[in-house]
């Protein structure tokens, strides 16, 4: 697989303050990478480096094997779409006029930009002034702008920030469409619930460092976060502690009808067999660690490592 973006030991410093330290990260063609981190973790700085708006203090940034600040910058920029974190656009222009302005600057013909407003669901409001737009509509206009010219790389900075659940789902629908078309997307977020299904790989940033990078599966294995089992049935006098004593289990809740416990990932099947061996058990539900808990885990680990 070809890598579209390649960051090698990138460092960005403002005076004595490190915005990014030793970041090595790549983004492959057709991949959707979620860049997660708290505010000020370095997500926007990473995007600015890839966009070529700022240059790295040390290390190398490569975009399609070229430097984003070099001689090919203009060609690269035409092939790239960006949605900034906070963009309210020009209040006195209509949505269509805003899109036309950016399309002209990108050198895109009128024909090629048709249908974009429809695609992001702004067709009815296209001729209204942006002043009257809600936050969600501005965000969608931003997305239409990023999609101008069918770029092969999309950088979306906090695309779901400030959106209501319906608009968020609408955004995910568009993201899935892009994924099916084979677009490469770098998506930054700190709003986590629900995003797992829509991204291929996760990179977690914290205080300018790359804390983790991999598929959700890889990260869960690495983190060794326990699985949660929810068991239902009727067992008036069962001693579950004895029954499951051979595994490293943490009991959350036990009574005559319900059992909730956390167990290690590697003993998943063994625990399930032991549970199913009990005839009184009616139902077993296995809950895998969510992105949320993974994110919390890696952040906590980093905080422990950096605190004196």
């Amino acid at each position: 697989m070809n890598s579209v973006v390649e960051l090698q030991q990138v460092e960005k410093r403002y005076g004595n303050i490190y915005a990014l330290e030793n970041i090595t990260l790549s983004l492959n063609e057709g991949e959707i990478l979620g860049l997660l981190g708290h505010n000020g973790a370095g997500k926007t700085t990473t995007m600015k480096l890839i966009l070529g708006v700022i240059s790295a203090t040390a290390g190398s940034v490569k975009l399609f094997d070229k430097s984003p600040t070099g001689a090919h910058a203009d060609t690269l920029r035409r092939n790239m779409g960006y949605l900034p974190e906070n963009v309210s656009f020009y209040n006195q222009l209509s949505g269509r006029e805003v899109l036309d302005y950016f399309a002209e600057l990108k050198g895109i013909s009128v024909k090629a930009r048709n249908g974009l407003l429809e695609r992001v669901g702004l067709n009815d409001a296209a001729d209204r002034r942006v002043k009257t737009y809600s936050k969600g509509m501005r965000q969608r206009l931003g997305l239409a702008q990023a999609l101008l010219g069918q770029p092969s790389l999309l950088l979306l900075d906090e695309p779901t920030a400030g959106l209501d659940p319906a608009a968020t789902n609408e955004f995910y629908r568009i993201l899935d469409e892009l994924r099916n078309q084979g677009s490469t997307v770098l998506l930054s977020s700190h709003v986590l619930p629900g995003i797992e299904k829509h991204i291929d790989r996760v990179a977690i940033l914290g205080k300018g460092k790359l804390l983790a990078n991999g598929t959700l599966h890889e990260l869960s294995r690495q983190a060794q976060l326990p699985l949660t089992f929810h068991v239902r049935g009727m067992w008036p006098d069962m001693d579950w502690h004895k029954q499951l004593s051979e595994y490293d289990i943490e009991f959350q809740h036990v009574n005559g009808q319900r059992l909730e416990l956390n167990g290690p990932l590697q003993s998943k099947l063994d625990i399930m067999r032991s549970l199913l061996a009990v005839p009184e058990v009616n139902d077993v539900e296995v809950i895998h660690p969510t992105l949320d808990s993974l994110y919390a885990y890696y952040n906590k680990k980093n905080n422990r490592a950096t605190s004196p």
Binding site: D74, P84, Q92, Y101, E104
Partner: protein, 276 residues
């Protein structure tokens, strides 16, 4: 189409849409017609006075108004884009920072030029007809020169507004600084000049002091327009300043052009070194 022209066209269209062009044109036209009509009332005449008198009083008023309008028009051009979030976005487009600022300047300069030419031009035509001076080509030349220098004066202050807009990170601060710029060039500078003139009277200062006026575009504008008329020289006190350089319209225009180019280049340089 060229990126500079795309940006310029958008700025100019914004100017039309925000009614900037209309507002400035009307202000200039009413000002000129009003001054022409009431300009003679001090000497007991009501009715249209000659173009020459009108130009003199118009120039004095334009010195206050044009810089203010130009600064208001342009003070938020960069810092405003930044607050909207569009500056960062524009910088990710195939567009140099120099091109963005140059485009904005061309757009704003066109707004200023259109309003000045239309506003003062229409007024001049009307005054010319009503005061029977329609065929005095010398006067028309003087008025054309007035419009040219007024436009250049506006451009100079647009360029200065850009310097402010590029340096600050908040719109409110840009407003404050542009007001200080206006006060400095329109009021404080002349007061200091006057003070210096009084202090150095009798000394050798009288010879080099007038040249200090070249450090203020509004004074250059005043010199250029007042010295053009023999009749006005005496009572404006310009007779004191008999230097050839300070009354040569070509040289004064050239220096005014420098006042446009130098701040503009400074703004472009600062913009290219601005952190985003």
């Amino acid at each position: 189409m060229n990126a500079i022209l795309i940006v310029a066209r958008k700025e100019f269209r914004d100017g039309l849409r925000n009614r900037w062009v209309l507002a400035i044109t009307l202000v200039f036209a009413f000002l000129a017609i009003g001054l022409a009509y009431f300009g003679g009332s001090a000497s007991g005449i009501v009715g249209f006075t000659s173009l020459a008198t009108t130009i003199v009083s118009l120039a004095s008023l334009a010195i206050f108004l044009i810089p203010l309008i130009a600064l208001l028009l342009a003070y938020d051009s960069i810092v405003g884009e930044e607050e909207q979030g569009t500056l960062l976005l524009l910088l990710t487009y195939p567009l140099r920072r120099t091109e963005l600022l140059t485009g904005k300047f061309i757009g704003h300069a066109a707004i200023m030029a259109t309003s000045t030419v239309l506003g003062f031009g229409v007024a001049a035509l009307l005054i010319g007809i009503l005061s029977d001076e329609l065929y005095d080509s010398e006067l028309w030349q003087a008025f054309a020169f007035f419009i040219l220098t007024a436009t250049l004066l506006g451009w100079a202050f647009i360029a200065m507004a850009y310097v402010t807009s590029v340096v600050v990170s908040e719109k409110s601060r840009a407003t404050g600084i542009t007001l200080v710029i206006w006060f400095w060039f329109v009021l404080i500078f002349d007061l200091i000049m006057l003070g210096l003139l009084v202090i150095s009277s009798g000394g050798g200062g009288g010879r080099w002091l007038p040249y200090l006026m070249l450090l203020n575009p509004t004074d250059i504008f005043r010199l250029a327009n007042l010295s053009g008329f023999e009749a006005t020289r005496n009572y404006t006190g310009l007779a004191q300043v008999t230097s050839e350089t300070l009354t040569d319209p070509t040289i004064l225009t050239f220096i005014l052009v420098l006042w446009v180019i130098i701040p503009l280049l400074l703004a472009i340089w600062l913009f290219n070194h601005r952190r985003v």
